[in-house]
């Protein structure tokens, strides 16, 4: 069951918020539903928000990528997203577990993690914040709201917010 890493690099869109050092602004999107992933990427692109979106389909892949483990051996600096968009219900390793591991790591814990999920369940919200999630967003069913949320999210975390790597 060793699936090849599903790494989507979208480098085409021109970003509105300009990074200081000229390095690309990276968003790490951990989402198992390919439809949702595409929706997020396309709305972000539409609002010209990120210039690099990495999409990973499950919790295991996300941790391997962030911790620079096989099959994602690459320099640590290349795997330092400015913001992580994390779904909760993920195959293999659950989103909350991914969050816990990120926040347990002395370096990775600096990255803002935005939970982006369909679940409004109280225990999910509570546990996400317990594990130090930086934000918790519920995907709106309505597309206009969805699109607005992506735009606000991009402007806030990548525009207004100071990146931990700056």
């Amino acid at each position: 069951m060793s699936s090849s890493p599903n790494l989507n690099l979208n480098l085409k869109a021109k970003p509105k918020p300009q990074p200081l050092g000229g390095e690309p602004i990276q968003i790490l999107l951990i989402e198992d539903n390919p439809g949702h992933a595409e929706l997020v990427i396309r709305t972000l692109e539409h609002h010209r928000i990120a210039n690099q979106i990495v999409t990973l389909p499950d919790g295991q892949a996300a941790l391997d990528y962030l911790f620079g483990r096989a099959p994602y051996d690459q320099p640590a600096s290349a795997t330092r997203p400015h913001v992580i968009l994390l779904d909760l219900r993920l195959p293999k390793i659950d989103g909350l577990e991914v969050l816990r591991e990120i926040k347990n790591d002395p370096v990775l814990r600096r990255i803002p993690v935005v939970i982006l999920t369909t679940s409004k369940a109280e225990q999910d919200v509570a546990r996400a914040y317990e594990y130090h999630a930086n934000s918790y967003l519920v995907k709106p069913v309505d597309f206009t709201k969805f699109s607005q949320m992506m735009q606000d999210l991009g402007f806030y975390w990548l525009g207004w917010n100071c990146s931990p790597w700056a």
Partner: protein, 460 residues
């Protein structure tokens, strides 16, 4: 004349005493005391009367007699009062004895007295609880004969501790054995006492079999309720997540379509419509599967004794096409011990497990599937083993969850194992997977409880 009056008073007093003795003495005095009293009083009365009536012809001898009675009378009355009192106490004692005896004999609980590993006394209820007569218990049975062998060491130790006065009284439960071999649950409360001058145990015993059964039943129902509740919670969670998810996709890509139309991007229009169709289909199948799953909660068919060998053959016949399409080497161990279950549900279990084994067959080595059984800890473990994809230890719990898939791209919706798990759990069994990790193959094992003992024997 004055003397005559005093004598009259004495006579009246004596008459009153006589009435008192006759009225109350017969009841409250023993026969040995009653008649001497009576005689003596009559005698005194006669003496006094003779004095009053002045039967002069016998005066001389009566004078001495009168003096004699006058001295004796107070002593006698004192003695009389004392005897009266004593008798009263004895009567009280006898009545209380009687009260307690009937209390013990007619008691709702068993009462026993044990000394030298023998029953010295048992009440009828005690005998009835164990199905014996009191005589049988007193003459033929020892405490050990009324105790389940597994519990005897504990009971023996408890008897010893009380006999040797290590502990004053003790309250505990154990399993007893009736005359016809049934197991009953009893609760005893025993205290050290003395019987014929030596240490003994006196106690009461209660048949708590029904209470025990009721409390076990209550616990079972509570546990069932808890699982039901947890299931319901999971169900709502899943519904809210997994059914909302395709809705987001559908509405999202409808929005995308609008943009595509504005941009006049034909290729994207096609792609986005595809996404919408796919999401709608996902939703439809999720709904169907949720209905399937909710039906399992109720066992439709009453459990029966199923021959797994025939059942497996049936399933293999059903999956023949599927199996033949893939190069799979199939091995079925003979002589599966019978399973007590809902036959159709059990078939579903085997069907799902075998289908999974075919689906995740090895693509490296020659694919093998083995269906078998092995004895383990007093029960039988039934298993379906493959040398295929395998499952990392970390995911071995997760794969049984509703709509959980290890791989987003793998076929199926992630409901199969959830259904299997539910069927096994509804039957009171357990299912788990054994695998060394990815690519190492996996063995899906399950155990099911046998026919409930309460139906085969009067034990639990």
């Amino acid at each position: 004349m004055i003397i005559g009056r005093i004598d009259m008073v004495t006579v009246l007093c004596l008459l009153a005493a006589l009435v008192l003795v006759i009225r109350r003495g017969r009841r409250e005095l023993s026969r040995d005391a009653f008649y001497p009293f009576l005689l003596f009083l009559v005698f005194c009365l006669l003496v006094q009367l003779s004095n009053v009536l002045e039967w002069t012809q016998i005066t001389t001898s009566l004078d001495t007699l009168e003096d004699f009675t006058e001295i004796l009378l107070p002593i006698f009355l004192l003695f009389f009062l004392y005897a009266f009192q004593q008798n009263h106490i004895q009567n009280e004692l006898r009545q209380s004895e009687q009260r307690f005896r009937s209390l013990v004999e007619e008691s709702l609980t068993g009462v026993y007295l044990i000394q030298d590993d023998q029953f010295r006394y048992v009440n009828p209820v005690m005998a009835r609880i164990f199905g014996y007569t009191t005589r049988e218990l007193l003459e033929e049975r020892r405490p050990q004969d009324l105790t389940r062998p597994e519990d005897w060491p504990r009971v023996q130790e408890n008897l010893r501790r009380r006999l040797q006065n290590e502990i004053k009284s003790l309250n505990y439960e154990f399993r007893g054995l009736t005359k016809n071999g049934d197991c009953i649950h009893v609760e005893v409360y025993g205290t050290q006492t003395f019987y014929r001058g030596r240490s003994a145990i006196i106690g009461t015993l209660l048949d708590v079999t029904e209470r025990k059964r009721a409390s076990q039943e209550r616990e079972r129902i509570l546990a069932e309720l808890e699982t039901k509740n947890a299931e319901l919670e999971r169900f709502t969670y899943t519904v809210s997540h997994d059914l909302k998810s395709p809705l987001i996709t559908i509405k999202g890509f409808l929005g995308m379509l609008r943009q595509d139309l504005e941009d006049n991007n034909a290729a994207l229009i096609q792609e986005d419509m595809q996404r919408i169709t796919h999401a709608a289909e996902t939703m439809e199948s999720h709904l169907d599967e949720l209905l399937d799953l909710s039906r399992i909660g109720r066992l439709v068919n009453p459990p029966e004794c199923v021959d797994p060998n025939a059942l497996i053959a049936e399933v293999l016949a059903l999956l023949e096409g599927d199996i033949q399409r893939h190069p799979v080497h199939l091995e079925v161990q003979p002589d599966h011990p019978p399973i007590y279950a809902d036959r159709l549900r059990l078939r579903e279990v085997y069907q799902n497990l075998i289908e999974n084994a075919v689906k995740f067959r090895s693509d490296r080595a020659a694919a093998r599937i083995e269906i078998g059984h092995r004895p383990e800890a007093g029960t039988t473990v039934y298993f379906v083993r493959d040398n295929g994809a395998g499952i990392e230890p970390a995911y071995q719990e997760k794969i049984f969850g509703l709509f959980e898939k290890l791989d987003h791209d793998s076929q199926g919706s992630g409901i199969g194992l959830a259904i299997v798990k539910r069927i096994i759990e509804v039957h009171g069994g357990r299912i788990w997977v054994e695998s060394q990790g990815a690519g190492q193959g996996s063995t899906f094992c399950f155990t099911l409880p046998g026919r409930p003992e309460s139906e085969s024997a009067n034990e639990f």
